[in-house]
Amino acid sequence: MDASALPTLLAIAWLTPLASFTVIVLLGKSLGPHGKYAGYISVGAILVSTVMSLVALFGAWLPNHPLADASHHGASYEAGAHGSSSPNAHSGDSHADGRAADAHAADAHAADEAHESEKPAYYGDWYALGQWGKLKLTIGYYIDALTVTMFSMVSLIAACVHVYALGYMHDELHDPYVDHEVHVHDGGHLHRPGRFHRFFQYLSLFSFSMLGLVIAGNVAMVFVFWELVGICSYFLIGFYIERQSASNAANKAFITNRVGDFGMLIGMMALWASLGTFAFGDLTTPDGQTELGIFSRLRTAENDHRLVPPPEMVAEGERTFASTETTGDGGSNAGHWLLFIAGVGIFCGCVGKSAQFPLHVWLPDAMEGPTPVSALVHSATMVAAGVYLVGRFYPAFSPEALLVIAVVGCITLTIAATIAITAVDIKRVLAYSTVSQLGYMMLSLGLGGWAAGLFHLVTHAFFKSLLFLCSGSVIHAVHSNDMREMGGLRRKMPITAYTMLVGCLAIIGAGIPLTAFGLSGYYSKDAIVEQAWSFAETNKGAYWLLLAMPVVGAAMTAFYMFRLWYMTFAGKPRNHHRYDHAHESPAVMTRPLLLLAFFAIAVGWTVPLTNLSVTNLLHQAEPAGIAATSHGVLLPSLTVPAEALSHAPEIKFKAGLAAFGAAMTGLLAATVIYLWNTLNPAEIRQTFQPVYRLLWNKWYFDELYSAALIRPTMALGRRIAAFDRAVIDELIHGLAWLSRGVSKVFGVLFDQTVVDGTVNTFADWTWDFGLLLRRLQTGSVRQYVLFIVAGTLVLFVAVSTVQWLAYS
């Protein structure tokens, strides 16, 4: 298939869920008994999306863009080393193939240059929403290997979740549905109509929004779908709206995201005000002119695709910053500052969406939604959106902005991992694990590991959706989220237990160290640690923390994941009542688990005899210029090493061993404590009482926000409400009283005399005139004829007179 079919294919994949949403919104409950067929429509739509995405990937993308093998790391390492030694030269990227490695450095240079210029990407506009002066809003697309990969990943996982939800949400088909978590005032449980169709309606909208976000061709469109994803997660987290906790969680998610979006708006405005465009790629206007997109303006071919603030940015900035922000050699850093602000602003949005510190608090509470939603929100859609945007927007991030991203990611991954260690709610453990893994992705992106971070996004999406669906299966079986009431379940539900074990092994990055064999997480997590190692070696000093934390985090990941697995599936049942009622889930739920387990194992592999792997796909998507080593301008000591450098054998060796050792340590600790019971968890808890309490209370973030922001805001709100009531309401009442009095006086003085008088006078005149005319109405036909004749004569005389006067 021709590559020009890509936009059409992806548009079909993108819009089918919207069609499903529309149908379900309009027909709703009338679709089958209790709206049962709504589920089938939604599943059908997402399956169409999946097929279309896969056709786009395998039928339209890969035949036209054969993958280069990026696994010959030695070659690309040489090229990368060359680039870093002379920052002005055009440095190599990891695409450099074997040919380049053998060739002289200069030749490699040329080969790279040719390669760089033909980064395969398709962009254009489908529909212009409107244009106001410079501001142009369009619905466009930007399709490169990343888009196609994300489409396949998102639609595939969404399809699994949809199918799974058919089984999981089965209870909602009952009418009335009894919500056992909601107590109504007469002591019973809440009875309400089932909402099966509504759930699938939201799922469809969610898929549509996420796919729209991925395909978006400009920042404005990204923002629209960004918010759509936000509102969908709001609907789904608050699906059990009658539960106070669910509606609170939905509000929390939504409001927390607004905080981040505010920053994103600032970033967007900074970019638009200086560059005058929202588009990612270059667009050709109808009159044949090319409008440069954001990426081509920031990284021009003349500058070898290095990030250089364009003149309009500097000129714009100099007016503002000239007095304060000039460097010693007279040049202005205004452009760099603007880029920094724009980058950090856009990243703020990602902090909200991807639940990074300090806005991570909404994600664990989002567990209140049905479990399929958690799986979708936590893997393929909501939180992936933030990481994806960082990846998509990568060419516009300056090294300083990247450092901010890395630091935030590092803090997030540490805090979240520590909290996950003490959580006992099975879904909360997974939620904090998600936050922590997202921290890994952000860290990797921030350290220059573009492909590594996005690779982790893809692999994480598969194993985290698997883990969540497994936990959903467990909850479905035992009707509890509390791991302290589980145990030994692997005998009752083997498929769930062992698919979950696969997920756990994948997330801790299990694999055979120093070889290329392992589960999906092994490749992506090692790549991240390698990048961190490379970064820490390039930038000495306190930057080593950015290496130490992910390694320690890897140990904690292994610990809490296996703590979860042991507590749930191994050992003896802790609650016999729940254990006796447990059962394996129906096939409609376990089949998606098996499919996802397969992907969790294999998504990191290269298809034998080909170059087909996610890594190579992502390397193909790498935007022009970002593979090179870059240096900070505002922070001259900062160097973001080229990603290719992290593939150096000695770094690979050390990083691989460190990651493996950390994971094994964590795994061993979990086994000792929770499987062999050599150490009693209760005693450990007792020993580290203060630390435990800190972690149990989630570092007191909720309390902190509550004390620092929420309660002051509420108090202020109450004050203002009181002010409203006491002052403004009274004022308005006074005004009302005054105007009533005035109108009363006015009514007597003016209305009743002048207005009424005038009207009555006219009425009297009309009456008198009517009485006068009454005399003419004699009722005698003969008189009327006389009147007619007389009238005709009078008319004749009048007309004649006028005519005579006029002509004489």
Binding site: Q777, T778, G779, S780, R782, V785, V789
Partner: protein, 120 residues
């Protein structure tokens, strides 16, 4: 029609439109006087017929190309309007006679002066 028209010339000139109009005017005035003076409803009706036919006379005259001395004329519109008025007159006569009959049934008379219920 030229502007130097005098009634006295009428008898010495060859028949033209003025003659027809004169006859029409005489008929119209006769009809109007009949309507104004007759107390018998049937007499009034006859007056109406005269008035209508006076008007018809004019229409026919305006529609004839021989009376215009080469000037403009109405053409077929004239006779058509006349036909239309005749049909109208027939319909009107039918209705009027029905009214007269009913009036007679109610009042034992067809004196229009006694039909004054509609006075103001």
């Amino acid at each position: 029609m030229n502007s130097t028209f005098h009634l006295a010339n009428l008898l010495t000139e060859p028949p033209g439109i003025a003659h027809f109009m004169t006859v029409g005017a005489v008929l119209f005035v006769c009809g109007a006087m009949c309507m104004a003076t007759k107390r018998n409803a049937l007499g009034v009706l006859m007056g109406i017929e005269l008035v209508l036919n006076g008007a018809n006379m004019n229409f026919v005259a305006f529609g004839s190309q021989y009376l215009q001395n080469g000037g403009e004329y109405l053409g077929l519109d004239g006779p058509l309007m006349a036909l239309f008025v005749i049909v109208l007159a027939a319909a009107e006569a039918a209705v009027a006679l029905a009214i007269a009959l009913n009036f007679y049934n109610n009042h034992d008379s067809i004196d229009v002066d006694r039909a004054d219920q509609l006075q103001g």
